[in-house]
């Protein structure tokens, strides 16, 4: 068993990773609650944004800052465009169908990425990665701080937004019943568009941070989203605060397993195992019931 000293640096990586998971988790939950769409293309869109950012920096056409901003905007624009084009026609369908449709977008992004940027090792460095400070004797860089802080801040901000603003209330209403919400005069399409855009911007931001923290690889970034999905599943796609806690736990557990050599190579399955156990545990008392919303 490794000593406490070996674990210390991984607490930092774990918290940073947890912050990004929280970021994508919140984006997923908000979108799911407002539109009923579980966006499985979340990771792919963020990854594509990161690649575009890398290309812009590589060519030197725009300043780095603008390139990073474009990554985030790309996430927002693509997700919003998808939402506007495919949201309404699929609105009345089963959540499973809506989620499956987003796999289409994920495949388009994946195909485009491996076509345009062939599988080659690349790295995307935020300027904040280069400056660091020490806590105890562990080196912490500013990107890690930003990732964690942003995750917590966005989760807190979103929870407050949903609770206290009109649009937030409308989103919560949509989560309960789309038809009744529409009858009450809520501009459903506009509220949904806001959710798509917000979720997309978070996809871009998560893509940028993950590309920095983990590495710029299309498949890795796309499927790392499944790990953050684990956190949202633990929250049953509902609670923002549970998503935040679950995301940080998932991030911490997968990072802290690293120094334990016996199981280190199995660390990537930590999110899946946690999510599976949580889901089965949460559904343990469920009888087969057919309680469905009327309508």
């Amino acid at each position: 068993m490794p000593s406490w000293e070996d674990f210390k640096p991984f607490i930092v990586t774990g918290l940073a990773l947890g912050g990004v998971y929280a970021l994508s988790g919140v984006g997923t939950v908000v979108l799911y609650r407002a539109t009923g769409v579980l966006n499985l293309a979340f990771g792919a869109v963020g990854a594509m944004g990161a690649f575009i950012s890398w290309s812009l920096i590589d060519r030197g056409t725009v300043p780095d800052g603008i390139a990073f901003l474009i990554c985030i905007l790309f996430g927002g624009v693509v997700t919003l465009a998808y939402g506007l084009a495919f949201g309404p026609p699929l609105a009345g369908r089963d959540p499973l169908v809506k989620a499956t449709a987003t796999l289409g977008l994920a495949l388009i992004m994946l195909g485009a990425m491996s076509w345009i940027w062939s599988d080659k090792a690349r790295s995307l460095n935020l300027p904040t990665t280069n400056s660091s400070f020490e806590v105890g004797d562990v080196l912490v860089n500013w990107t890690q701080v930003i990732a964690f802080a942003l995750g917590v801040a966005v989760a807190a901000g979103t929870a407050a937004f949903l609770r206290f603003t009109n649009v937030g209330t409308a989103m919560r209403a949509l989560a309960s019943d789309r038809e009744i919400t529409a009858t009450l005069g809520v501009p459903v399409l506009r509220v949904e568009a806001i959710a798509w855009l917000f979720s997309g911007l978070l996809a871009g931001a998560s893509g940028l941070l993950l590309a920095n923290l983990i590495g710029l690889d299309a498949a890795t970034l796309t499927f790392l989203f499944i790990s953050s999905l684990a956190a949202t599943l633990i929250a049953r796609l509902r609670s923002i605060s549970v998503t935040l806690i679950a995301a940080i736990v998932v991030g911490l557990v997968s990072a802290l397993v690293t120094p334990i050599l016996e199981i280190s190579q199995y660390r990537d399955m930590a999110p899946f195992v946690l999510a599976t156990i949580a889901l089965l545990w949460l559904s343990r008392h469920r009888e087969i019931s057919f309680a469905r919303r009327a309508g």
């Binding site: 796999l103 977008l105 388009i108 195909g111 485009a112 076509w115 199995y266 899946f272 599976t276 889901l279």
Partner: protein, 344 residues
């Protein structure tokens, strides 16, 4: 139940038999080893697609982990093949049965979850299987339980059945096994389980009220899909000889879902189309010098198109389009269209 055969069925059976004979006897002589290997993969993946086709089209359950189940089947088959001297058909059967047991054990608790959550939990389990396989690798003749040895030569290839050592012979062997498995699936769909599944897909409460044991039949569907993937895994192990984890990525699972949807989930033919989409199209594109990534994009567009406009997929759309084309051509020649006159 004894199915009654009408004249339409007779013609259909004849066409299928002729097609099968052509695939078995005609094709191997006409093609190079490369294309025969590709067609072997098409047959194997249509069996995997068949499992997902039944799950999605008949019962209305979505699994995002069929490729991981395929990997499980391939691992079991390779392990059995290296550890024992069992004949190949027994290895196939055992890998099917063991995979089925594992799939059912995994599926049992998951059945409490419905729809979207079930699909997501299969995605999580697939991820878990992939991580484990990345760590353990596939058996290649090494010692111990895992049977993996890290040699420069890359280990020993898995043995093939003695009657099908060569590539064309193994291709024929695979086609026969696949045909048998399609018949198994057809029997399921046409008899009691099929009717129970249809009832469940329409409405679970109604099925329950009609006395259908919904849990049993849902589990049965999972078991069948896992069995099919298990046998397909055994065939895959025999076909390629050496297995690598990257062949069974999550991306492949999503691609499988795409091709199964595009092939059409309400007809077993859809599974055949899906197999061709999955393995033949990439080979063709490669042959024509086009990037295979183009196909990934097309499959993505395909998912969206199928879900929005053509839930029946190609298996339903193609005959309909052909009939339309036939009618259009009939009208064209019947009237002697002005366009044709002008062309002369």
């Amino acid at each position: 139940m004894r199915a009654r055969l009408g004249t339409g069925d007779g013609v259909r059976l004849g066409v299928i038999a002729a097609l099968l004979l052509f695939c078995l006897l005609g094709l191997p002589g006409m093609l190079s080893t490369y294309w025969i290997d590709v067609l072997t993969l098409v047959a194997i993946y249509s069996v995997v697609a068949l499992g997902l086709n039944v799950l999605m089209g008949r019962v209305g359950l979505v699994s995002l982990g069929q490729i991981a189940v395929l990997a499980l089947g391939a691992w079991i088959a390779a392990r059995l093949s290296f550890a024992t001297g069992l004949p190949f058909p027994i290895v196939l059967l055992l890998s099917g049965v063991l995979t089925m047991v594992l799939g059912t054990v995994i599926g049992l608790p998951a059945l409490r979850l419905s729809g979207l959550y079930l699909a997501l939990i299969t995605l999580m389990l697939a991820g878990t299987i992939t991580v484990v396989l990345t760590a353990t690798n596939f058996p290649n003749g090494g010692s111990g339980f895992l049977g993996y040895t890290d040699t420069d030569q890359g280990g020993t290839a898995m043995r093939r059945p003695s009657i099908a050592e060569t590539d064309p012979a193994f291709y024929r062997y695979t086609v026969v096994v696949a045909a048998v498995l399609f018949l198994v699936a057809l029997w399921h769909v046409r008899s009691k389980p099929g009717r129970a599944w249809a009832a469940i897909r329409q409405s679970e409460p109604a099925a329950l009220a009609a006395g259908v044991n919904t849990t049993l039949y849902k589990l049965w569907a999972f078991a069948l899909a896992s069995f099919l993937a298990g046998v397909a895994g055994g065939l895959l192990a025999g076909s390629v000889g050496k297995l690598f984890t990257f062949q069974f990525s999550t991306r492949e699972s999503i691609l499988l879902l795409a091709v199964v949807l595009m092939g059409g989930i309400y007809s077993l033919w859809g599974a055949l189309v899906a197999g061709a989409f999955m393995k033949l199209l990439p080979a063709l594109l490669d042959d024509w010098g086009l990037p295979a990534d183009l196909l990934t994009i097309l499959f993505g567009v395909g998912i969206l198109q199928v879900l929005l406009t053509a839930p029946g997929g190609l298996a339903q759309q193609f005959p309909r389009d052909m009939a339309k084309l036939g009618r259009a051509l009939g009208r064209l020649f019947g009237r002697g269209s002005p366009a044709q006159e002008a062309a002369k």
